[in-house]
């Protein structure tokens, strides 16, 4: 059985004749939902909730879907959580190898992969698995800085599509949060503004996504402090609008819908 992530999983065709001749793509079992990210004045900020669902069940409420790869790079993933854990392990292993085989013990910047390099490598991994019809079932956002020191935000999906932008989102976030983020985005967003904006979007997602939770993590990557990931915390929700409270199911109501 192969332990290499990019090689397509266990060597199926070669392994015994007992297995079926063709392996199809599986379906995700334990899944994370949206991840959002936005560039701001000091760097890049990313957020995700801490829920992994088992089908429709909210099974794991303290899953960590934001991971730091090296002091300069942050990734966040939605989709199959086991595949995301495998990706995290792979990228962290690469980072460790880089650190241990660096030319100099002190010249850290040169040996660390920048976010753009991680993003590109991940693209190759995902596309390679897609070609073997056995994808890593994830949408991943890579955040950090490029080699030139510019804030970087890139997206990779399970078939190896990539793009980079000032604002990226996965899953439901790409439908519900992206328009909000695009409207409010400015190049000179302060950290507080960026965080409030992301929290607003996570609140909308909690209202409208069946697979979302109101407990989130926020992470940022800055030149001075590198990657910082917050502890999970709950966001507030509002249910007090008058039209919400008024019941509709009474005899003279409209049917309750």
């Amino acid at each position: 059985m192969s332990l290499s992530l990019a090689s397509g999983g266990s060597t199926r065709a070669a392994s015994s004749s007992v297995t079926a001749a063709t392996e199809r793509t599986r379906r995700p079992i334990v899944t994370g939902t949206s991840v959002l990210a936005i560039k701001y004045a000091g760097g890049v900020m990313m957020t995700a909730d801490t829920l992994c669902s088992y089908g429709s069940m909210a099974k794991y409420k303290d899953a960590r879907r934001l991971q730091s790869i090296n002091p300069k790079t942050l990734i966040g993933g939605g989709g199959e959580y086991s595949d995301f854990q495998a990706i995290t392990e792979l990228l962290k292993r690469n980072a460790l190898e880089d650190k241990c085989t660096a030319d100099s013990l002190y010249d850290e910047d040169a040996s660390e992969e920048c976010a753009r390099e991680v993003w590109n490598y991940l693209r190759a991994v995902m596309y390679n698995r897609r070609n073997k019809m056995n994808p890593l079932w994830n949408d991943v956002i890579v955040a950090g800085f490029s080699a030139q020191g510019e804030p970087f935000l890139g997206f990779v999906d399970k078939i190896g599509t990539t793009y980079e932008d000032n604002i990226v989102a996965t899953g439901f976030g790409s439908y519900l949060a992206l328009p909000i983020l695009r409207e409010k985005y400015r190049e000179d967003l302060t950290e507080g503004e960026a965080r409030a904006l992301l929290e607003d979007c996570m609140r909308v997602l909690f209202y409208r996504d069946c697979r979302a939770l109101n407990k989130i993590q926020i992470a940022k990557v800055t030149k001075e402090d590198g990657v910082l990931i917050s502890e999970p915390y709950e966001i507030e929700t509002d249910w007090t609008s008058a039209s919400f409270v008024v019941p509709k199911g009474a005899l003279d109501g409209d049917g309750g819908w």
């Binding site: 001749a21 409208r208 309750g256």
Partner: protein, 237 residues
């Protein structure tokens, strides 16, 4: 016999009737694409002089929450209510029919219909149309004969009187909780607290349940509705 013949190559043939999961989840498999579902948590407990009914407020199409504050506790008659789960369209239609028949019956007989009658009307509709409906309903109310009573009418049209009833996709997560906390002969306040607590727990684990909790307490002298906002639940989401 064919199995004595060893000349077949040693490749594994999948069994002809091997079970293949099609990837659809249990609660949405019968919904048509785009159809609304009240994948839900509903509950009703009778107490000495009445009934408490409760429900969450999430209506979903797939994984999108179409309505986060819906009202799933519908009134069938003055003192008879029902909790709806399953297809929103189907349960609304059923509720409309039963309301119509009950109001007719009340005029014809000159007195309020019993909860048993309402439940069996609902059952007739659910049973006769079982191939075309996806509706799980709990009928509860107060009448002078039985005082508070609760009838569970799941998919298929069974009608069964119960000491307490839970239903909807979220109910699977709270069977243990309700089994351990339910006691016979609870009073109004206890029953209400149990309903709120159980529904909160179901909302915490079921992706298709959420939002706010709406309860109705039905007694001889009136109906009292209550609204518990999503940030004041007894047990957090």
């Amino acid at each position: 016999m064919s199995y004595m013949n060893q000349s077949q190559p040693n490749t594994h043939q999948p069994y002809a009737n091997a079970y293949q999961h099609d990837g659809k989840s249990a609660e949405t498999r019968n919904l048509k694409p785009g159809e609304l579902s009240t994948g839900t948590t509903i509950m009703a407990i009778p107490f000495e002089n009445g009934v408490v009914l409760g429900a969450d407020s999430r209506v979903s199409t797939g994984t999108y929450v179409a309505n986060r504050v819906s009202d799933k506790v519908a009134q069938l008659h003055d003192r008879i209510w029902c909790c709806r789960s399953g297809s929103a369209a189907d349960t609304q239609a059923l509720t409309d029919y039963v309301r119509h028949y009950l109001s007719q019956l009340a005029i014809e007989t000159g007195r309020a219909p019993t909860v048993k009658t309402a439940a069996h009307l609902m059952r007739r509709l659910c049973y006769e149309n079982k191939d075309n409906l996806m509706a799980g309903v709990i009928v509860g109310g107060w009448d002078p004969v039985e005082k508070g009573s609760v009838y569970n009418i799941p998919l298929g049209g069974t009608c069964i009187k119960m000491p307490f009833a839970i239903g909807g996709s979220g109910s699977t997560y709270i069977y243990g909780l309700v089994d351990s906390l339910y006691k016979e002969g609870m009073g109004e306040e206890e029953a209400k607290q149990l309903v709120k607590k159980s529904i909160s727990h179901a909302m915490a684990r079921d992706g298709s349940s959420g939002g706010v909790i709406r309860t109705v307490v039905v007694k001889e002298d009136g109906n009292t509705r209550e609204y518990i906002p999503g940030n004041e639940l007894p047990f957090g989401p």
